[in-house]
C-alpha cells in the first residue's frame, strides 16, 4: 500500500500571550492510501493542527507535508485553496452547513469550483446525497434537518468532488450515541466501498474503533499507532 500522506520532521509553533507553544514537534508520520485513521490524544496534543496541515488549511514552520504527490509546504494560499477544492473533503464537528442554502445547494457549493455545468453539479450533488441516505431531504434547509442528517449532508458535501482524502474533525462530537454510530458507519462505508482515505480527529474511543488504525499524539509527538483490526501496536 502506498503512503497517501507523509509527514517528515514537521514542526509547528504558535505564539500565545508572548509564549512560544510548540504544537507539533519534529513529527514523522505515514498514512496509507484508502485507510481510515482515527487521531486521538489529549487536548493540546496537536490533533487539529495536524489535520489542518494535511488539509492545507495551515502550513508547517518546517518539515515536509506531502499528500499524494503534492508537497503542501511549497504552495501559496491560492494554490492551497485550489488544491483543497480538488483533493480534500472536510467534515466538521458543528456540521457547518450554510443555513441559507438547501441540503442540495450546500453539497453543490464545492462543485462550483469544478469545471462542471449546472446540470452536472446538480446530478453530482444528488448522487452524493443519495449515497448518504438523504435523497428525500435534498430541498430541506439545515434548520429543517436533525443533527445526524445535517452531518450526513456535510459528509455528502465532503465527497461531492470525489476527493481522495476526507478529513473529519470530531464529526460525532455534537451527536448522540445512536446518531454518532450511524455517521461513523457511513464514514466506514465510504472508506471501504469508495476507498477514501479518512483521517478523523476524535476524543471518543468508541468512535475511534470504527477506524482501521488509531494514531495517538502526545505533546506534538507521535505516540503509538494501533491497528484496530488486528490489535497490533506500532
Amino acid at each position: 500500500m502506498t503512503a497517501a500522506i507523509q509527514l517528515r520532521s514537521v514542526t509547528k509553533t504558535y505564539s500565545r500571550g508572548g509564549e512560544e507553544l510548540r504544537v507539533l514537534d519534529e513529527l514523522d508520520l505515514d498514512m496509507d492510501d484508502g485507510t481510515f485513521y482515527a487521531l486521538m490524544g489529549p487536548s493540546g496534543s496537536g490533533k487539529t493542527t495536524l489535520l489542518n496541515m494535511v488539509g492545507g488549511l495551515d502550513q508547517a514552520d518546517s518539515g515536509l507535508v506531502q499528500v499524494g504527490d503534492e508537497d503542501l509546504a511549497v504552495m501559496d494560499g491560492g494554490e492551497l485553496a485550489q488544491w483543497r477544492s480538488e483533493h480534500v473533503g472536510f467534515v466538521f464537528q458543528g456540521f457547518n452547513l450554510l443555513p441559507v442554502l438547501s441540503a442540495r445547494e450546500n453539497v453543490e457549493l464545492p462543485l462550483l469550483l469544478a469545471p462542471l455545468s449546472k446540470r452536472q453539479r446538480r446530478e453530482q450533488a444528488e448522487r452524493a446525497l443519495t449515497l448518504v441516505g438523504l435523497a428525500d431531504r435534498m430541498n430541506h434547509k439545515p434548520r429543517e434537518l436533525s443533527g445526524g442528517q445535517e452531518q450526513r449532508v456535510a459528509i455528502a458535501r465532503a465527497i461531492a468532488t470525489d476527493p481522495q482524502v476526507i478529513l473529519a474533525d470530531e464529526p460525532t462530537g455534537d451527536l448522540d450515541r445512536d446518531t454518532a454510530d450511524a455517521v461513523l458507519e457511513l464514514l466506514q462505508r465510504l472508506n471501504r466501498e469508495l476507498n477514501k482515505t479518512i483521517l478523523m480527529v476524535t476524543h471518543d474511543p468508541q468512535a475511534a474503533s470504527y477506524a482501521d488504525k488509531t494514531i495517538h499524539l502526545d505533546k506534538g509527538k507521535l505516540g503509538r499507532i494501533e491497528d484496530n483490526r488486528t490489535g497490533a501496536e506500532g
Binding site: 489542518n52 488549511l57 483543497r84 466538521f92 441559507v100 474533525d169
Partner: protein
C-alpha cells in the same frame, strides 16, 4: 462567484436587509430631491432674461418705491418699457390655506416684456381692457378648475377692502410659459385697479410700488442702465437697487439663506449618516458570516470570493435601495413639481440627478463593503474554524 449565496444571504436577514434598503432608499430619495431643488433653482436663474432689470428699494424688498419714479426712469437712455410689480398677498376665498402669488402689473407693458408667456385660453386684449380682470397660469387654473370668465374672489391681507369683502377678479385669459423662470402658478391683475381703489377710499394698503421692471432696448449695456437708475435716486427720497433679473431671483432665493449650500450640506450629512448605517450593517454581517466564510475558504473558495460576497451584498443592498428611491422619485415627481412650482418652477428629477443618486448608492455600497470584505479576505481559515468549533 456563488451568486445564489449572495442573494440568499441578503434574504437570510429579511428585517435587517429591508431596514437597510429602506434607509438607503430614503437617503438617496432625499439626495435626489435636494439635488433636483438645487438644479431647479439654478435653472430658474439661468432662464432669467438678460434684457430685464428690476428696481427695488435699496433698504428692502418690503419697502415700496414712490409712484413718481416710473416717469423718471423712463427718461433713462436704453429703457424701452417699464412694468410695475406689486405683491398683493391675498388668500383665495375657497382655499384660504393654499398659496399662490398675485401681482398687480401694467397690462400695457407686461405682455411685451415677457415674451415667454403665451396666452393659451381667452384674450390678453380683453384682460388689458377690463379693469377688474386677471390672467392666471395654466397650473393654477388647473389646480382650482378655473376657466375663462370665472370670478375669483381674493381676500386681501395687505390690501383690504373697506367693506370687508373680497376682491373679485374675472379670469380673462390663461397663460402658459416656456421658461423655468416664469411660474405658471401666478395671478396677474391691473395695478391700476388696486391704485384706484386706494385713492377712492374703497381699500387700504401701502402706497407705491414693490418692484419696477425695466425692459432695456436691444444693444444697450444693462450695466449702464443699472448705474444710471441707481445714480438717479442716490440722494433719495428712496434709494434704489437695480439688478438683473437673475440677480434679483438669486437674492430672493437667498432671503432664506444660502439655499443651495444648505441643501448640499443636508445632502452631505444624509450621505454620511447612511454610509455609517450601511457600514455598521456590513460589519455586523461580516462578523456573523465568519463561520460561513471560514467554511467556504476551507472548501477552496479564494479570498476574493470571501471579500466579493460581502462587497456584493453591500452593493446589492445599496443599489436596491437606490432603485426603489428612483422609482419613488419618478412616481411622485409630478406631485412634488406641482407643490413646489410657486418657488421652484424648474423642479424636475433629471436623468443626471437619478444617475447621481445611483452612483452615490454604488459608492456607499462599495466603500461599506470593502472593510468587512478585506477582513474576510484576510481572515485566517483555521482561526475562523476554531471560533466555531
Amino acid at each position: 462567484m456563488p451568486w445564489k449565496l449572495l442573494f440568499r444571504n441578503l434574504l437570510g436577514h429579511k428585517v435587517r436587509s429591508l431596514l437597510t434598503i429602506g434607509a438607503v432608499m430614503v437617503a438617496v430619495f432625499l439626495v435626489c430631491v435636494l439635488q433636483a431643488v438645487t438644479s431647479g433653482l439654478s435653472r430658474t436663474l439661468d432662464a432669467s432674461a438678460a434684457n430685464r432689470l428690476l428696481v427695488q428699494s435699496a433698504v428692502s424688498l418690503f419697502v415700496d418705491l414712490p409712484l413718481g419714479y416710473q416717469q423718471k426712469m423712463a427718461s433713462v437712455p436704453g429703457v424701452e418699457a417699464i412694468c410695475k410689480w406689486q405683491w398683493f398677498g391675498g388668500r383665495y376665498e375657497q382655499d384660504k390655506g393654499g398659496f399662490f402669488a398675485q401681482f398687480g402689473i401694467d397690462p400695457e407693458t407686461f405682455a411685451t416684456s415677457y415674451p415667454e408667456m403665451t396666452i393659451a385660453d381667452g384674450s390678453y386684449e380683453e384682460f388689458a381692457a377690463t379693469r377688474t380682470a386677471c390672467i392666471v397660469g395654466r397650473q393654477l387654473a388647473d389646480k382650482y378648475g378655473w376657466q375663462v370668465g370665472d370670478t375669483v374672489p381674493m381676500l386681501g391681507t395687505i390690501f383690504t377692502r373697506i367693506d370687508g369683502k373680497p376682491w373679485d377678479f374675472t379670469v380673462k385669459a390663461i397663460y402658459e410659459s416656456t421658461s423655468a423662470a416664469f411660474d405658471q402658478q401666478q395671478m396677474f391683475f391691473h395695478y391700476q385697479y388696486l391704485r384706484e381703489s386706494l385713492e377712492q377710499g374703497g381699500a387700504t394698503g401701502p402706497d407705491g410700488v414693490g418692484v419696477y421692471m425695466l425692459k432695456i432696448e436691444p444693444g444697450t449695456d444693462p450695466l449702464v442702465v443699472q448705474r444710471a437708475v441707481d445714480g438717479m435716486f442716490e440722494n433719495g427720497p428712496q434709494r434704489v437697487q437695480t439688478t438683473t433679473e437673475a440677480e434679483f431671483n438669486r437674492q430672493f432665493i437667498s432671503m432664506l439663506g444660502d439655499v443651495p449650500q444648505l441643501l448640499r450640506l443636508i445632502g452631505g450629512a444624509v450621505l454620511f449618516a447612511i454610509f455609517f448605517a450601511v457600514l455598521n450593517t456590513m460589519l455586523l454581517t461580516g462578523r456573523e458570516r465568519t463561520r460561513d466564510l471560514g467554511v467556504m475558504k476551507a472548501l477552496g473558495f479564494g479570498n476574493g470570493v470571501a471579500a466579493g460576497l460581502l462587497i456584493g451584498e453591500s452593493l446589492l443592498l445599496c443599489l436596491t435601495g437606490a432603485g426603489l428611491a428612483i422609482a419613488l422619485g419618478l412616481l411622485i415627481e409630478a406631485p412634488i413639481a406641482a407643490v413646489t412650482a410657486s418657488f421652484i418652477p424648474g423642479f424636475a428629477l433629471e436623468r443626471d440627478t437619478l444617475l447621481l443618486g445611483a452612483g452615490i448608492a454604488a459608492v456607499v455600497g462599495l466603500v461599506s463593503g470593502v472593510l468587512p470584505g478585506v477582513r474576510a479576505a484576510r481572515m485566517n481559515t483555521t482561526q475562523a474554524l476554531q471560533e466555531i468549533a
